[in-house]
């Protein structure tokens, strides 16, 4: 295990100000009733009590960003000739997310294979994502408790999981115990004082305590394959999906707050002479997502769309990517759903339905 370091809370702003010299630093900030990841204002103390409403994915996968820009320029020498130039945006700057949750860090694992050419399938690599991904360091703040909506343990996570983090920070009394997990993480925390053994133990104790507040996985051990099969088995069960989606508003809150939802839209925004091709978040809960030019839509009803969302996370994605769910169990989709649609319950109901049939 790497050397543990200790950062008194009072010195957090100062430390982050230091990082900001070499990195763009994002940190949770309270705004209204929400906590969101913002480029951190100098000298400010990040919000460490309430867990962020949104995930940190937009740091690596912005809500909208430029794929390239285009400019027409009329050639005064040749009547009617217009030159068109395409320009790619500049590479992203090195970035640190301070105070990501462990589920946020694990969420990127759902992106990675898809944006990296699907491994052996050798598909195209998404350079925009990959550049940001490799440029972003994650300082994960270990959760001290689980919320009623948390279910990271279903997906192999835990409140203080080290997966995907560069640094694991644990709040202990009046400071943070920092554990570098990668060379990049080590670089971030190397300047900090070493933690005492007591502080290390306290951190460990905090992890254990947090684990204890986590609701056990129902019917453990969880069988991902069985879940994938059970969800797929419901594919033609319209009644099931209608019932599950009855209260759903078909808004995009769940997908946009989700650390693993990676779907996007591409649109051109232009003033005629010049413009940008934008990639922006899109949600499979929207009808327009699959509306074909002919007017045909394979997923007109919200039931079909919710089916795809759950199906993708727990069946299709796992079948393509080594059985791993496209879900990190952060529970934000449940916590922030205006209708309290609970994805856990849908999965369990699918399992139950499968058990009844067999």
């Amino acid at each position: 295990m790497a050397t543990l370091r200790y950062l008194p809370l009072a010195q957090v702003p100062q430390w982050l100000d230091g990082l900001a010299k070499s990195y763009t630093v994002f940190a949770p900030a309270r705004e209204g009733s929400a906590v969101v990841y913002r480029p951190r204002a100098e000298g400010s103390m990040p919000e460490l009590t309430a867990r962020p409403t949104e995930s940190a994915k937009h740091v690596v996968f912005p809500r909208a960003h430029e794929l390239f820009s285009f400019t027409y320029k009329a050639d005064p020498a040749v009547v009617g000739k217009r030159d068109l130039t395409l320009t790619q945006p500049q590479d992203p700057t090195p970035t640190v997310v301070f105070g990501a949750l462990s589920c946020d860090a694990r969420g990127f694992f759902a992106f990675d294979p898809v944006y990296d050419g699907c491994g052996t399938k050798g598909l195209a690599k998404d350079v925009y994502y990959l550049k940001r991904r490799q440029n972003t360091a994650l300082v994960v703040l270990a959760c001290r408790t689980a919320l009623a909506t948390c279910f990271c343990n279903w997906t192999g996570g835990s409140p203080a999981s080290r997966e995907g983090a560069d640094v694991l920070a644990t709040l202990v009394n009046d400071g943070l115990v920092m554990e570098a997990l990668t060379p990049k993480g080590e670089e971030l925390v190397s300047g900090l004082a070493e933690a005492g053994a007591e502080q290390g133990a306290a951190a460990e104790a905090s992890h254990t305590a947090a684990e204890a507040t986590m609701a056990p996985v129902p019917g453990a051990p969880l069988d991902p394959k069985a879940i994938a099969d059970a969800v797929l088995a419901r594919f033609d069960d319209a009644t099931f999906w209608q019932a599950e989606s009855a209260g759903c508003l078909a808004c995009g809150a769940c997908t946009y707050l989700c650390p693993t939802c990676y779907c996007f839209n591409i649109t051109d925004e232009s003033n005629g002479i010049s413009g940008v091709r934008l990639r922006s978040w899109d949600t499979c809960m929207a009808s327009l997502f699959t509306l074909e030019a002919s007017g045909h839509n394979p997923r007109t009803a919200k039931a079909n769309r919710l089916k795809n969302r759950v199906g993708h996370k727990f069946s299709y994605y796992p079948s393509l990517h080594g059985g791993r769910f496209s879900c990190c169990g952060c529970g934000r989709c449940i916590k922030s759903c205006p209708s309290s649609v609970d994805i856990r319950r849908i999965v369990q109901n699918a399992l139950a339905a499968a058990n009844v049939k067999e």
Partner: protein
């Protein structure tokens, strides 16, 4: 608890006549209710009215066009139903309303704020209603909250706690807490200068994630899947992550609701990042009430912006 039982009885009574009864059940934690679609007695037994029955079930009615459904309505929900009816978006004969005297509902943001350092809402493991107080259990301790402190704003100015249209009314009608809407919330906002207001929206809208929960939670949004927010023909908005577009969408939503919004506040409640989007609609509602003496959902007849009169005595046009 009496009310709960009585409502359940009313629901069970109507179940055989309808495709389903829309009401409320429990949510993922003790502080959250959720819409409940009841088709059986078992379902009805899971019905839960009260302080956490926040969702507006009128939202779902247009989906059930052509089927007969019953819906349990708070006073504000009934206004939405009334407006849907007056616009012909649902048919009276297809909807049966079960009303009751609403005592107000929770505002989760207020609960979260009241808990503060004591913990997050998701840590609450039990909730007890004791008269005017809520007793919450979290992190092994109990926290008492004054219900009045965590009640939704709309309930504090509610003039119509008893569903004004109801086929069945359960319980005794209660006195409304207010006799008129003084738009005090707007007055607070309007204490700011124009510049401050613009800066306010700039800041608030900057955290909008464009999930459109506000729109989809609105019972009167008629466009549903065909909203101009993402359409390209017409193309009102860019998809860029810009405050301008986000604010413009709120303006679009509000203008589409001008003279139609009943102020149920679901847009604002649905916003996952807590943007006070109801304000714009409240401002329009005030104008409409002032200009056309029209209160959406209560007053019958064509919504004021879909009709006109030859003379408009209340419109003071600019004299050039």
């Amino acid at each position: 608890m009496g009310m709960q039982k009585e409502l359940q009885a009313a629901i069970k009574a109507i179940l055989p006549e309808v495709d389903c009864v829309i009401g409320w059940g429990s949510g993922p934690d003790p502080l959250h209710g959720a819409p409940l679609f009841m088709r059986s007695e078992d379902d009805a037994n899971r019905f839960a009215s009260g302080f956490f029955a926040v969702n507006n079930p009128a939202l779902f009615l247009p989906e059930y066009k052509g089927k007969k459904v019953a819906v349990v309505v708070k006073g504000c929900d009934a206004r939405s139903v009334g407006q849907l009816l007056s616009e012909g978006l649902i048919k009276r004969e297809e909807v049966s309303l079960i009303g009751f005297p609403c005592q107000g509902v929770v505002d989760h943001d207020k609960v979260a704020a009241a808990l503060g350092e004591k913990g997050e809402m998701g840590e609450v493991t039990a909730v007890l209603e004791e008269g005017d107080a809520l007793v919450l259990t979290l992190r092994g301790e109990t926290v008492r909250l004054n219900k009045a402190d965590v009640t939704a704003e709309k309930c504090m100015r509610c003039q119509y706690p008893n569903a004004h249209i109801a086929d069945t009314f359960v319980g005794e009608k209660r006195e409304p807490v207010a006799t008129a809407d003084d738009f005090a919330d707007l007055a607070v906002f309007e204490a700011m200068s124009l510049e401050e207001r613009q800066a306010f929206w700039e800041k608030e809208m900057s955290r909008c994630i464009r999930c459109y929960a506000c729109r989809n939670a609105c019972p009167l949004c008629v466009c549903r899947d065909h909203c101009v927010a993402t359409s390209r023909d017409p193309s009102w908005l860019t998809q860029a992550d810009s405050v301008k577009d986000k604010l413009f969408f709120q303006v679009i939503h509000a203008t589409h609701l001008a003279g139609r919004c009943t102020g149920c506040g679901e847009c604002q409640r649905a916003c996952p990042v807590g943007i006070p989007v109801l304000l714009l609609k409240r401002s329009l509602a005030r104008s409409v009430e002032k200009l056309f003496a029209y209160r959406a959902g209560i007053d019958e007849g064509t919504p004021p912006l879909l009709t006109f009169t030859l003379e408009e005595p209340t419109i003071k046009e600019r004299s050039w």
